[in-house]
């Protein structure tokens, strides 16, 4: 106890001393600072003496050197405290300097605040985590760098500078990371981009029983090129092993998870020579499990290129650079296909294929942590999440999409790479335990799924001439020219890519391909305009592209009809459902019920084979169902439904009274109907009365008229004697009626006006009469007075001469026996009929309508 006390006292002393020293130091700095300010104020100022001084070359040179020195100092000071300053170049403007200095000061202040917080926390907690300082050159511990940047992000108000710094870093890195020469060329890695199918190499295989070998000798002369999918099993060299693979007992048992060693404690071996590879192989053969990860590049290569293999055992990390010893990597196949050694991957779908393709390495006994995570229903399935969950490590994923072909590999990238596998084995342990805890069978399920992954055989991508329908997002349909261009360019791109061993995307990116096909530029300039930024091979082979486009332009223009199947495929690939209606979907989506109708307008007249209909289902007669519809629509009888609360006894008397009341109630409409009925009845009665009356009294013509009666057109009776009319009306109306009827019957002709029956003064108008009289006066002819006509004298003389004595016996006297016809049945005292004929031409009455307000128009 006392010992501790002594130590405490000693510590306190030390602390006091330290603080005193600090205080002294700070005071010294303050004093120096003050001196600095005074001195600097003494310097010549801009706008005053500075220009004059600056005109002297020595002064100028001195100032420059001082500036350099000062910049260097600033840089050093800020670096040493961990807040690197953005040191402006010599000759920068004053504003820039001010900006940088202010920035630096801000950073320092923030740093102080962070540390202060940390220390405060440290007082409360036991562990003090002070972020490590790093100098700008080559960070060795990526983890802490990531953490610092996180911390700075949260505390720093000046995010802009932090981000700006990061971007600059990356740009510099990128600039340093240009691959000058393709590794395929450097290391003589030959890629077979031909159309021939992939032939996998088999190392260390157990000899297969030689079964029947199928030699397919078709007309094309090609032998043995079997059709892919059906022969998967045949092709996989280790199929026998995999199918017979049983998970070793040790892997199925629950065991204590072995924690990984810290990164700095783990030895990292770069394997880039054959000897090292051999050594690695031996190491791997000796362990029971190891984790693997690959880094792959697909831009500057047609099929793809594995750039890096990372392997971790429990104690060591290995990074294999396959380029120098490409063909030798295959020796690793031994530990990989050893069913007693477990390989741990994360997301092995592609890795398995890449290993096969590039090195001929197959895998037996695989555990994929991704599959396990899915089985355990983790929220996320990424490797970063896995590392975070189990290793409490934040993986910096910035190099995931970096170009891994670059050599020499930067440390940052190496670190990133090894981290990928370093934590995998521990994660595997943890996941295994969890799977066993969840369900014993789950582990087996995971292994069987991983087994399926192992069985996968690498197949070279086959070029589909119309592949662009599914691969590219076509925004609209192309016409025949554009379609031709697209197809040709698509093919050309593939050919070039295979030739130059680049990815099609590098030769001509998709969007540029679409742009070219859409616009069909006429010249090279147009091609360049479509392809911005200009890909290398477009520039090189612009001539070929132009040729294709010119060819396409000459194609006859017509709309390309994409077949329904192609359309469907394309849409499926895009995950879009077709919105169009066709025969089947219209019926499915239709809301009309067709079941009970004979005629279906959607389907049209279809002839159903009645024999096909099975009689299991009892089909209702359509007619019956329709009738039921009609009947049900009729108004239901107004039966009162009495709703009584459950439990309560209904008051029967009250209910009955209510129902009676309801029945008694007569609706207004019923009253109306009653009224209408009575009205109808009344009308009926009235009509009947009228009928009766009529029948009784006979059909006397009305003699008494009133102004209510309709106007009667009465035919006036007149005295024929007075007016040279033939007919004589004597006696009752009946007789005359009969007479008239008879005459009418006989004489069907309309009554002809015969002017000879009237005297002149009856027919002619006043004026005409006057004219006639004048004429007569002028041509007084004695013969007229004596009874002979004057006008027709010369004619008459002729006829007179020819005139013979009339023979009365021969004359037809039947005319006298006939009853005289009454040609003029109508009384026409003012000769209206005759007048009307002439008057209609003159129309005088209409013009003077104003004078004729009182007169009655006799026009009919």
């Amino acid at each position: 106890m006392s010992n501790l006390k002594e130590e405490d006292v000693q510590d306190e002393e030390m602390i006091r001393q330290r603080t005193l020293n600090m205080r002294k130091r700070v005071e010294e700095i303050m004093r120096n600072g003050a001196t600095l300010v005074r001195e600097s104020n003494g310097l010549p100022k801009a706008g005053a003496d500075f220009e004059l001084y600056n005109s002297f070359p020595t002064f100028n040179a001195f100032m420059k050197r001082s500036e350099e020195r000062l910049n260097a100092l600033m840089g050093k000071v800020t670096n040493s405290i961990g807040c690197a300053m953005r040191v402006p170049d010599v000759g920068a403007s004053v504003e820039h300097y001010t900006e940088c200095v202010i920035e630096a000061q801000d950073n320092i202040a923030e740093r102080v605040a962070t540390l202060h917080e940390a220390l405060k926390k440290a007082e409360k907690d036991e562990i003090v985590k002070v972020p490590e300082f790093i100098t700008k050159a080559g960070p060795t511990n990526n983890k802490t760098e990531a953490e610092i940047s996180e911390a700075m992000k949260t505390f720093s108000a000046n995010i802009g500078t932090v981000l700006a710094a990061k971007f600059r870093e990356r740009r510099e890195e990128a600039a340093q990371m240009i691959v000058h020469e393709k590794p395929q060329k450097t290391y003589n890695i030959i890629a077979d981009n031909s159309v021939a199918p992939f032939v996998s190499v088999k190392h260390h295989a157990i000899e297969k029983r030689s079964g029947i070998v199928v030699v397919d000798d078709d007309e094309s002369g090609r032998i043995g090129w079997t059709n892919a999918e059906a022969e998967t099993e045949e092709e996989h060299p280790y199929i026998a092993e995999i199918l017979n693979f049983k998970v070793p007992e040790s892997q199925l048992e629950s065991a204590e998870p072995k924690k990984f060693n810290a990164l700095k404690n783990t030895q990292l071996t770069m394997v880039d020579t054959k000897e090292k590879l051999e050594a690695l192989k031996d190491t791997l053969n000796s362990v029971t499990e190891f984790s693997v990860d690959l880094e792959h590049h697909e831009m500057r290569t047609y099929l793809g290129l594995t750039c890096l293999i990372q392997i971790s055992t429990r104690d060591e990390d290995f990074i294999i650079d396959p380029f120098p010893m490409w063909d030798c990597i295959g020796i690793l196949n031994e530990p990989f296909t050893n069913p007693k050694i477990l390989k741990v991957f994360h997301g092995a779908d592609n890795d398995v294929l890449w290993l096969q393709r590039d090195f001929g390495i197959h895998i037996v006994n695989l555990f994929d942590t991704y599959v396990a995570m899915k089985k355990l229903k983790y929220p996320k399935f990424s490797l970063a999440y896995l590392a975070f969950r189990f290793a409490d490590v934040i993986l910096d994923k910035q190099y995931q999409l970096a170009d891994w072909r670059a050599r020499p590999l930067r440390n940052a990238m190496i670190n990133y790479a090894r981290e990928d596998t370093h934590y995998l084995l521990y994660s595997y342990d943890m996941l295994r335990e969890q799977l066993l805890k969840q369900d014993k069978k789950d582990l087996n399920v995971v292994y069987s799924e991983c087994n399926d992954l192992c069985v996968r055989v690498y197949k070279k991508p086959v070029f589909k001439p119309k592949g662009y329908l599914t691969d590219l997002k076509l925004r609209f349909t192309f016409n025949s020219r554009q379609d031709h261009a697209l197809t040709s360019l698509y093919k050309w791109r593939d050919v070039v890519a295979r030739q130059e061993d680049e990815s099609p995307q590098f030769v001509l990116p998709n969007h540029m391909l679409l742009a070219l096909a859409e616009q069909l530029p006429r010249d090279v300039g147009g091609i360049y305009a479509c392809c911005n930024p200009l890909p290398h091979f477009v520039k090189k082979l612009a001539g070929q592209i132009l040729k294709i486009i010119v060819e396409a332009r000459e194609v006859k223009l017509e709309k390309v009809k994409v077949t329904a199947k192609e359309n469907n495929d394309a849409q499926e690939a895009r995950g879009v459902m077709s919105d169009s209606m066709d025969h089947i979907t219209s019926i499915l989506k239709s809301k009309i019920d067709f079941t009970h109708t004979k005629f279906d307008e959607e389907r049209g007249e279809i002839h159903i084979d009645k024999t096909e209909e099975s009689s299991d289902v009892l089909r209702k007669d359509e007619l019956q169902s329709l009738i039921s519809v009609l009947l049900s629509s009729s108004i239901p009888s107004t039966e009162a439904m009495v709703v009584v609360e459950k439990g309560k006894k209904g008051d029967v008397k009250k209910i009955k009274k209510l129902v009676d009341e309801l029945d008694k109630f007569v609706t207004p409409f019923e009253c109306y109907q009653m009224m209408m009925i009575t009205k109808q009845k009344q009308e009926e009665e009235e009509r009947k009365e009228a009928e009766r009356k009529r029948l009784e009294e006979g059909d006397k013509p009305k003699t008494l008229f009133s102004h209510h009666d309709a106007v009667v057109v009465r035919k006036p009776q007149f005295d024929s004697k007075l007016l040279n009319v033939d007919t004589v009306k004597v006696g009752d109306s009946d007789d005359t009626q009969q007479q008239r009827d008879s005459t009418m019957e006989q004489d069907k002709e309309p009554p002809v006006f015969d002017p000879s029956r009237f005297s002149d003064d009856q027919l002619m108008s006043k004026k005409a009469m006057k004219r006639k009289r004048e004429h007569a006066k002028r041509n007084i002819d004695v013969s007229v007075v004596l009874g002979e006509s004057s006008s027709s004298d010369p004619k008459k003389q002729k006829t007179d001469a020819e005139l013979e004595e009339f023979n009365y016996e021969e004359a037809d006297s039947s005319a006298f026996e006939k009853p005289v016809k009454d040609n003029n049945a109508e009384f026409d005292p003012f000769h209206q009929k005759y007048r009307l004929k002439n008057k209609s031409k003159t129309n005088k009455s209409m013009k003077k309508s104003s004078n004729r307000s009182g007169t009655i128009n006799y026009k009919k």
């Binding site: 307008e601 109630f665 207004p668 009653m674």
Partner: protein
């Protein structure tokens, strides 16, 4: 198509319109005539203005026109309740068409000019004919001017107010065709009553309370 055939909506009635004229319950699509309601096909003829015989084909449920129609049709006698009275119109709700009582009430207007037959402009206020909360018998008219509501008319003798209530909720009794009297206060008010037998009466509120007790 033979007259009297039973059809359902969507059934093809004719392949072509031919000499027929389209009546109710049909629609034309793709130059074919289909039925739009369930019913029987009916062909009838009438003479139009130029004295030609016109054959009309239609689909209807029954002989009675009232059964055929689902909505208030032109010339239907409806029972309506006056909801509000304005300057030129009285707003009514059609309760029943003929004898069919509907759950949904149709909005209708009763213009001032259709209160009395043969009298276009009336100086008398609406008050003397109908008042709010009166039940009236009215006829649906065809008025092209008003498109969103039905137009009613009580111009005939048999149409008009059938039941009405007074100021205190008491039922009014008919005195003659133009006046009613309140059963409670004895005051008379003017209404245009319908010339129908007064068989029904509104229950008075006092009676109701009695029966409830």
């Amino acid at each position: 198509m033979i007259s009297g055939t039973l059809v359902a909506p969507g059934d093809k009635v004719l392949d072509g319109i031919g000499d027929y004229k389209m009546g109710n319950g049909l629609y034309e699509a793709n130059r074919r005539v289909y039925a739009s309601v369930t019913g029987y096909v009916n062909v009838y003829g009438f003479r139009d203005k130029t004295d030609n015989l016109v054959q009309v084909i239609e689909v209807r449920r029954s002989e009675n026109q009232l059964d055929n129609e689902l909505l208030p049709f032109n010339g239907a006698v409806v029972t309506a309740k006056v909801m509000a009275v304005g300057l030129r119109f009285a707003k009514c709700d059609i309760i029943s068409i003929g004898d069919k009582v509907y759950k949904k009430r149709f909005s209708a207007l009763l213009p001032k000019k259709k209160l009395r037959p043969l009298e276009p402009e009336l100086s008398e206020p609406f008050k003397n004919f109908v008042r709010p909360n009166d039940y009236i018998l009215a006829k649906v008219c065809d008025d092209a001017g008003i498109k969103d509501k039905f137009v009613l008319s009580i111009a005939e003798d048999e149409l008009g107010v059938v039941l009405c209530r007074g100021k205190y909720g008491e039922p009014m009794q008919k005195v003659d065709w133009n006046t009613v009297v309140s059963t409670r206060t004895g005051r008379t008010e003017l209404r245009k009553m319908a010339k129908v037998p007064q068989k029904c009466m509104l229950p008075s509120y006092s009676n109701q309370t009695d029966s409830a007790a």
